[in-house]
């Protein structure tokens, strides 16, 4: 079996008395889509935030690309190739879609401490940024401020940014949410191809998308992993049916 790109072990995170992450082990292997599912409040976003570095775990380790990254900050992890999207879109609202992606390109292509050369005419920034927007189908909306994009478009823009980062692993927190059936279908097709580029840890409520895409599924309930395995194993798992999919699902 291939060495995992990302490996979480023994992760614990409490908010007061609430154990939002309860001794979680999880990994992400090259070329796969690993779906993370669970009811609302199960701790999926909390887990993503710890992997991305936005939250410090109380215990446990996170390894990425062969190195322990548990102590690193968000920016450093992003530079090493962890590309994330947020459950609630988080963009620079005044900047156009293009400038949002250009920010990622500039972060990757070297220093942000360049004080004079204008970015707008700089093809080294606009070129890759446009390419990323085209891939997610947002090229015609490149000049629109992020604040004026539709909800679904903002989700697409977040993915374009993660693409432009040249991410070695994607952490996608409910990318389909609020997208509509047409958009979900298109995104499903897109993510299907994306896994060849870099593996995806996919938090998603849309079960059609999850069953269509996932190589493996991990089920989180009250911060604990209650099951992990192939789509078939999870579909048949009695504990999952009871706790999450609901009887008869």
């Amino acid at each position: 079996m291939a060495e995992p790109v990302l490996a979480v072990s023994g992760l614990v995170k409490s908010f007061g008395a609430l154990r939002a992450t309860d001794t979680v082990d999880l990994d992400l292997r090259p070329g796969e889509i690993h779906a993370l599912i669970g009811p609302n409040g199960a701790g999926k976003s909390t887990l993503i935030n710890q992997i991305a570095g936005a939250l410090r775990p109380d215990a446990g380790t996170i390894r990425f690309a062969g190195e322990d990254i548990t102590q690193l900050g968000v920016a450093e992890r992003a530079r090493r190739g962890l590309g994330r999207t947020f459950q609630v879109s988080s963009l620079a609202p005044e900047f156009s879609a293009l400038r949002n992606v250009m920010l990622a390109v500039q972060a990757v292509s070297g220093s942000s401490f360049r004080f004079f050369r204008p970015v707008m005419g700089d093809a080294r920034l606009t070129g890759p940024a446009m390419a990323a927007l085209e891939r997610v189908g947002l090229a015609e909306r490149a000049r629109i401020p992020a604040a004026e994009l539709s909800h679904g478009e903002r989700r697409q823009l977040e993915i374009a940014i993660a693409l432009a980062l040249g991410s070695k692993a994607f952490l996608l927190d409910e990318p389909m949410a609020g997208m509509g059936p047409e958009g979900s279908k298109r995104l499903t097709g897109f993510l299907d191809g994306l896994r060849a580029e870099a593996p995806i840890l996919l938090v998603e409520h849309d079960m059609n998308a999850v069953f269509a895409l996932a190589d493996r599924i991990t089920v989180l309930v009250y911060g604990k992993v209650i099951a992990s395995g192939s789509v078939e194993q999870i579909r048949r798992d009695p504990a999952v049916r009871k706790a999450y999919l609901g009887e008869g699902a």
Partner: protein, 324 residues
Amino acid sequence: MRGRETIIGIALMALLLVVPAVASQAGEPFYVTLATRIAILALAATGLNIALGLGGLVSFGHAAFFGVGGYVAGILAAHAMSMEPILLGIPGTKQMLVIWLVALAAGGLLALAIGAISLRTTGVYFIMITLAFAQMVYYFAVSWPAYGGEDGLPILLRNQFPGVNTLKPLPFFLICYVLLAAGLAFFALLRGSRFGAALQASRQNDTRLAAVGIAPYRVRLAAFVISGAITALAGALFADLNRFVSPSMLSWQMSGELIVLIILGGVGRLSGPVVGAIVYVVLEYVLGGITERWQLFLGLVLLVVVLFARGGLIGLVAGRARHG
């Protein structure tokens, strides 16, 4: 709408050049001094505009940088006059070019120290901690007798610039004007650069900035240092204009004045500080001649701007700012 803002900006800068030139011809040096004051305050506010406008860092302590620039000019000049070395045999100087470099460096270093600590906080805490640092500098200047303490430090003869008679109002105005133009050009370039993109993104959403791999703290700190350095340069000019530097340049009222200038003109707008400085100085002159309480009227204007023209006066005439 950047097109219209550019035209208005150029028109105002032309006006700021023509008025003192005509006034000087007409034998009215007072108006030249007024225009010089506008140019210097606009430069100081342009420095603050980098931190406040582009980075969203509401520094209530920029008087510290303004005043330190002023004291650099005053102290170097005093030692040049007395021929006593400052420290370790370093002599004073009357050369503006040297004074400016020292002021830029001193302002930048002070901003590095203040910013390194203050930028660990945000929002109201940032406002209060920058204010607290500036007050510390203020009380230090008040209680340090070597350079005049509370009474301040006179500059007996305005400092010198090669080939220019700085004692005459118009040539000195032109020096300040050129530095303002350079400051504005610098601001425009910075805003459009990679660094400017990161800085403006940090104001809009620092979570996003970090998520693409750019640590917001370093970007903000660099911006704060640049901002403090430019405001200190303006402070050196201000001391030379008044031929006097005193702790009042370091006071919190001065910090507030710079913020007011920017809010009046337009936060983060290239011509915001110029518009703000013109309105401020003209109001001060016109209303100040009528009543001691002219700041009451300034307050009213400010209130109207904040309530009805969030983009400042420049936003009112040139529309909202747009980023490509």
